[in-house]
């Protein structure tokens, strides 16, 4: 049998090479403005912030102090190393664990299980450095991260859940659909400072609409909540109301923070709803028809078709929500400044970004504030990574 001789790859002609070169130059020329903008307005400021964070920088640049600001924030370097190693090993073991499936060959399975257990135990052992880090580092930072976590946890699930519900309602064939969409979207396009100032007056304990409404419903005016002025945890307040003593550690976020959370949910629900509507519009109608023919009820359709097929939208909104809450500032600042200095009342609304602001502008500690910003960046990147890993295989892209 005569096989055809393999043909050598034809060499490009001079004209082809010249055209390719021209195309490449054109492409880079088009990329150049964007790259420059990215460099000047993104990478350069980040690099400069890093430079500031490594100096004693109070209004003007002082001495180079290396990692001192970071160690002031996070504590002893050994503890930090332990924590980072612990977290890394835990994450690594979790990733290995996830690779194990029913079809994994036995030998490899045993090896993987061994590795996973080793990593988990090693990770936990190293994780013991965490309490020491908390003790040696900046307590305000850890406290602020906890408050930020509360803020995020109190905001994102409700924002996403409520907007999914609203989107499903607005996706139906109802009258005035467009008007409702605009109404729900309005808070998002309203200037934050203005709307936050209005909500601040709504939550005013003596003249605010909320307490006037509660008093109108028959609640005792002397015992009405103090909202933005209330530093007590909501769990404690509920406990007091129903006569149950709540331990201090279980007090939960302050009522002031909950007030800001309510405002934040109000602001972003409309935006999330519009994004969800777009996601719902992308689901092929034929799937719903097929499911109906197969006898699926509305709940089953929602669970088996709608939720999985809008999962990329859900993933996007959750990610944006978490990142947004971790860097939130304007609304918290405007709403709570009436109750006292930044983070009022009693520091219970001092989220990480507020703490950075306090150190930067109230404290003139430019270097330390920049270091805190990088710590927060690390936390946000870690959360983003974790979210990516968790969503693997759960967000359905069709």
């Amino acid at each position: 049998m005569n096989l055809p001789e393999p043909q050598s790859k034809p060499q490009p002609t001079k004209g082809q090479r010249s055209r390719k070169m021209r195309e490449a130059i054109q492409a880079y020329a088009f990329l150049l403005p964007g790259t420059l903008i990215l460099f000047v307005f993104s990478l350069l400021p980040i690099g400069y912030a890093l430079y500031i964070s490594m100096h004693k920088w109070r209004v003007k640049r002082g001495d180079f102090i290396g990692m001192e600001n970071y160690l002031k924030a996070l504590g002893n370097p050994i503890d930090v190393l332990f924590v980072l190693l612990g977290l890394g090993l835990l994450a690594g073991s979790w990733m290995v664990w996830r690779k194990i499936t029913a079809g994994t060959p036995t030998k490899i399975l045993a090896w993987r299980i061994g590795l996973a257990f080793m990593l988990i135990f090693g990770g936990f052992a190293l994780f013991l450095g965490f309490p020491k880090m908390l003790a040696d580092g900046d307590k305000d930072l850890f406290e602020s991260l906890l408050i930020t976590f509360y803020y995020s946890l109190g905001t994102v699930p409700f924002q996403v859940g409520l907007s999914f519900l609203l989107a499903n309602i607005l996706f139906q064939d109802i009258k005035g659909k467009s008007a409702w969409r605009i109404i729900y979207f309005l808070p998002y396009v309203t200037v934050t400072v203005a709307s936050a100032a209005v909500w601040q007056s709504i939550f005013d304990p003596t003249k605010g609409l909320v307490n006037i409404g509660l008093a109108g419903l028959g609640f005792n005016p002397d015992t009405l909540p103090r909202w933005l002025f209330e530093a007590e945890g909501v769990v404690t307040l509920i406990g007091n109301w129903i006569g149950v003593e709540v331990p201090e550690w279980a007090g939960g976020p302050s009522l002031a923070l909950i007030s800001v959370i309510i405002y934040n949910i109000w602001t972003y629900v409309g935006y999330n709803t519009v994004i969800y509507l777009s996601g719902l519009g992308n689901i092929p109608h034929s799937l719903y028809e097929a499911a109906e023919i197969d006898g699926a009820n509305r709940w089953e359709i929602l669970r088996k078709i709608t939720i999985p097929l809008v999962s990329p939208t859900t993933y996007f909104l959750v990610m944006m929500g978490i990142l947004g809450t971790f860097r939130a500032f304007n609304s918290i600042y405007v709403m709570t400044r009436v109750a006292g200095p930044v983070g009022a009342p009693q520091g219970t609304t001092m989220t990480a970004s507020m703490l950075i602001w306090k150190n930067f502008w109230n404290g003139n500690r430019f270097g330390y504030a920049s270091a805190l910003a990088f710590v927060l960046t690390g936390v946000m990147l870690s959360l983003n990574w974790i979210q990516n890993r968790i969503s693997e295989g759960r967000a359905f892209y069709g």
């Binding site: 307005f41 980040i46 640049r61 530093a231 971790f326 304007n330 109750a339 009693q346 404290g363 504030a369």
Partner: protein, 476 residues
């Protein structure tokens, strides 16, 4: 998945960039809303009198040759808004059209004391500063640490452009000494006006409660405040909580309470904060008790203490005398009762006041520009200008001759005239040191914590520790 990861990473980086942009050292924070309403009282970032006031003496040294301020254009940053800005602009126009050197002053409002301070702090590394600005003494100290301010004694002593001894003697000592900064041993500000903390009280309500006059000590103050919540004012208008005393959280309020008990914020040589003294603990324990008893509460909106006082729902407030005209307006538009001002209650034999006020500071530039700025500063401190400014704003003049020119105004405004006499009581000194602005935030934190139920002593100790850290960090 890689695309998603990349997208996620880019989003995070963009977010972080936003955060950094907001915190960049050369940019004013976009988060902080600009003040939209005219300040109803002077924002109290206090001032201070050095232990041993130094009065500059005119010398016979000739003016440095070759410095000619003619034709200079200088920028002037201030915090005034609304009608006060209009007045300031009209005064600047007067100066521009009348000064013999052809100096042009360009006045620019920055919205408020905090915004003004923030903008100058941001302008220092960027070298974008005005020729002169309004600054509290502690703020001037912060600027001076950065080497951007000009010491003023050289101008005061100048035989051509400075003051004669007779003119210097015309200034009240409390005003003249305030701008002498102990960390530098020099003067970095010049005082065109002063303010102080006073107690506003509802005379009619006091009489209904069976008292002849306002309290002079803190025990009486507590007694009257608590009596007020039991027997609201008959002329009260509108709905709201009745209080004996309504306060806003502010470091100067704490200083006022502290001074009145004989305590001090800073030690004698300005090397350490001492407000966690026995007087400090007493002050906070007393205040905390007043709140716990329901006789005092925090204002829940900006200037809420003024409006509630005007409505006859609050018996006492303590705040700056510069709010006098706004209190008068609040009462006229509210419950229209008889009211007045008094020194805050005190445990000392005589009232011990908290007198403060921002001054004019001049930034380092060319000798000609600096001299032009000084000439405007000096003009602003002339008796005619002081009298005009004080009689329109409620501030106090800093010169006896200016006060004399206000005789008619004082006759027409007896409450102002009464308060003016408090200028001659002993005064405590807040902190003319770099880092006090930062410390004020910690004092305000301490106030919210203690008045929210925390232990006074431990909170005071913690605040002093944090303030001393700032003092050390910010020292020249």
């Amino acid at each position: 998945m890689k695309h998603r990861n990349l997208f996620g990473l880019l989003v995070v980086l963009a977010m972080v960039l936003g955060l950094f942009a907001a915190c960049g050292p050369t940019a004013a924070p976009t988060e902080e809303p600009a003040a939209t309403e005219e300040p109803k009282t002077e924002e109290p970032a206090p001032t201070e009198e050095p232990e041993e006031p130094e009065e500059p003496e005119p010398t016979e040294e000739p003016e440095e040759p070759g410095i000619d301020p003619s034709g200079q254009t200088v920028t002037y940053w201030y915090q005034h808004t609304g009608s006060r800005e209009e007045l300031m602009q009209s005064m600047i126009e007067d100066f521009n059209s009348s000064n013999e050197w052809g100096i042009t002053v360009v006045g620019e409002t920055q919205g408020g004391y905090n915004e003004l301070y923030t903008k100058i702090i941001a302008g220092i590394p960027a070298n974008q500063l005005p020729s002169m600005a309004v600054a509290y003494q502690n703020q001037a100290a912060t600027y001076a640490v950065q080497g951007v301010l000009v010491p003023l004694d050289q101008y005061i002593a100048d035989p051509v452009y400075g003051y004669t001894q007779e003119e210097l003697d015309d200034f009240f000592p409390v005003a003249l000494s305030a701008d002498y900064l102990p960390q530098f041993g020099d003067r970095y500000g010049w005082p065109p006006y002063k303010s102080m903390e006073v107690m506003y009280y509802n005379q009619d309500w006091l009489e209904e409660l069976g008292y002849d006059g306002p309290p002079t000590n803190w025990e009486e103050f507590a007694e009257m405040s608590c009596a007020a919540i039991e027997q609201p004012f008959s002329g009260q208008v509108g709905e709201g909580i009745v209080l004996g005393y309504e306060y806003s959280v502010d470091a100067s309020r704490f200083a006022t309470f502290l001074f009145s008990r004989g305590g001090d914020v800073l030690n004698e040589n300005a090397s350490s904060y001492v407000f966690n003294s026995a007087e400090g603990v007493e002050t906070m324990a007393y205040w905390q008790q007043l709140v716990e008893d329901g006789c005092a509460a925090q204002a829940t909106e900006r200037y809420g203490d003024q409006t509630d006082f005007g409505a006859g729902r609050v018996l006492f407030t303590i705040s700056s005398i510069s709010g006098l005209s706004y209190y008068a307006q609040a009462v006229d538009e509210g419950a229209a009762f008889n009211w007045s001002v008094n020194p805050p209650p005190h445990s000392t034999a005589e009232p011990r006041m908290n007198i403060y006020g921002a001054s004019q500071s001049i930034f380092a530039s060319t000798p000609e520009e600096q001299l032009a700025s000084w000439l405007f500063t000096k003009w602003l401190s002339e008796p005619e200008q002081q009298a005009k400014w004080a009689s329109s704003t409620g501030y106090f003049p800093t010169r006896a001759s200016a006060a004399d020119m206000m005789a008619d105004y004082m006759n027409e405004n007896p409450t102002y005239a009464k308060a003016f006499q408090f200028m001659f009581y002993e005064s405590g000194v807040e902190s003319p040191v770099a880092g006090y602005d930062e410390c004020r935030t910690e004092i305000a934190n301490m106030l919210t914590n203690v008045l929210g139920g925390e232990d006074p002593k431990s909170e005071l100790d913690n605040a002093v520790m944090l303030c001393n850290e700032y003092l050390e960090e910010a020292a020249p």
